[in-house]
Symmetry: C2
């Protein structure tokens, strides 16, 4: 599934024909072996698609200064930081240090704000594209591949008529994903342990961006049976989507590192996607390419 | 203690002689009765010092749009939001929506970044002052009042020679406070449940901003006895600073809502400050005045 997007990225990079391959720098500042594995995996994917990758191992007390230096270095085109480092709000602070023009992960406040507000460019001339956060964007790319996005409809409205449940409302994935899908025209039920919220652009997509409606008393039982697509990303191995609620022929996507759908999901779902990690890494490299293109666009206009 | 700063603010406001009193708008979007009490208290203090205050009660799902509207409204000079609202990362997102020129709380990433980096102005001409977050700044103002800041020393180095322990390393108060004190020249021991870190500008204040040194194996037992000032802000009523560690004649300041120092502190400390809430609100209004002055400076230079 990720192959198609991979080829698109390779072709776009070749068409650009840069004097040097765009360079992604990864910062590793924790002892977590999973972070190192992920860093190495980033590097391998990066090189496969024709980009350069450099891993910098930095003491966490020096990370802020190292990021500032990388922001100022014209030879660095993208920056990825392997979290958690402090595992606290300190990590949120560090995320905001990465320069807007190098933020391949799309975690800068400006990008997140634009995503929620459905603003797709950084400039008024609409040449410099806003970057979307990788994991939510990977889910979007999966849904495009699966033709849940209907290309007959105008760009920006291609989920009109779809009903989607997203289970998890974290600021990292669940809430941005619900907002992105609703901004593209879907009616989204966003589920967390406390409540269900409706994200939507109103009857006939009258609004330019999504609004949020409370659904007092609603639970998964009310919204999953209505949904064409069920997307779940609950951490830990305890939570399972109740299979009996899933509409026959629905599309089911898991973005948790654990399996949120029991094996029986295959008997109900028309399509079941157990993991999106491969798509996420390709999306990250697509963002790297976007940032490179943005830099060229800004140089040409100045 | 807050009276002196209060009078300074009143006099500065009168000297400016604005056509209308600068206006602070508070946003209340939670059912928490403590938030309402705090909002009313803000309003009372605001009016007493000659500012205008308006409380806007907004459904939390409409808060983002309401903040964007207030950012664009030239009649609004400062914005305060009463947290917690969602009690999650969503609140951090909302904090970043408040415009830089209206952020009386000093919570925008740009302000926090400048604070850590010891950058005191937003512009190269050094006319537009960077805003400091209220609670850490209130502690600074208390230390200035108590003459821990030595005005014989050059501005920016007035804590040189002081040793200070700060207990709590949250991103909201403890870590910024440790950084501010170290940037002003102190040697600061920052203590949390896991470890002790040294924040300092090096021998002879050679560095322009603080750096952080790990203190492997250190605990409160090692740093409190060395400290001229002990500042504690541990939430909850369980933690107490071990009184026997406090140096005779040290200055003790509590910024927790609970009492981190047992009553016996008065027998050891030369000065004991049990709470800083009153100073915090005056500092907030001083920030409001700063933002107003910044706007004038920006208008004059453009």
């Amino acid at each position: 599934m990720s192959k198609k997007l991979q080829e698109e990225v390779i072709q776009s990079l070749q068409a650009l024909n840069p004097p040097q391959p765009p360079k992604l720098v990864g910062f590793l500042s924790s002892e977590d072996p999973a972070a190192r594995v992920y860093a190495e995996w980033t590097g391998r994917n990066c090189r496969e698609l024709g980009f350069e990758f450099e891993l910098r191992e930095v003491d966490r007390e020096d990370l802020e200064e190292s990021l500032i230096a990388a922001n100022a270095d014209a030879g660095v085109h993208g920056i990825i930081v392997y979290y958690p480092i402090y595992g606290s709000q300190h990590d949120r602070y560090l995320q905001q240090i990465v320069g807007l023009n190098k933020d391949v992960e799309g975690l800068s406040h400006t990008y997140i704000f634009n995503m929620y507000q459905n603003i797709r460019f950084l400039d008024e001339e609409r040449k410099v594209k806003s970057i979307l956060p990788c994991t939510p964007l990977a889910v979007i790319k999966v849904l495009e591949y699966l033709q849940i996005y209907n290309t007959i409809l105008p760009y920006g409205n291609r989920l009109h008529g779809r009903t989607i449940t997203v289970i998890n409302r974290s600021e990292v994935v669940g809430r941005p994903l619900a907002a992105l899908l609703a901004n593209d025209g879907a009616y989204v039920y966003s589920v967390d342990v406390n409540d269900v919220l409706g994200f939507h652009r109103g009857q006939g997509l009258k609004k330019k961006r999504h609004e949020v409606t409370e659904k007092p008393g609603w639970t998964m039982k009310d919204c999953i049976p209505l949904s064409d697509v069920v997307i779940s990303g609950v951490p830990g191995d305890k939570f399972k989507v109740p299979l009996e609620l899933i509409k026959d022929g629905a599309v089911c996507i898991n973005f948790s590192s654990e399996k949120n759908f029991a094996p029986g999901v295959k008997d109900r779902a028309s399509i079941y996607i157990p993991a999106i990690g491969k798509m996420t890494i390709v999306v990250l490299l697509r963002n790297l390419l976007r940032l490179y293109q943005n830099t060229l666009a800004q140089q040409n206009s100045s």
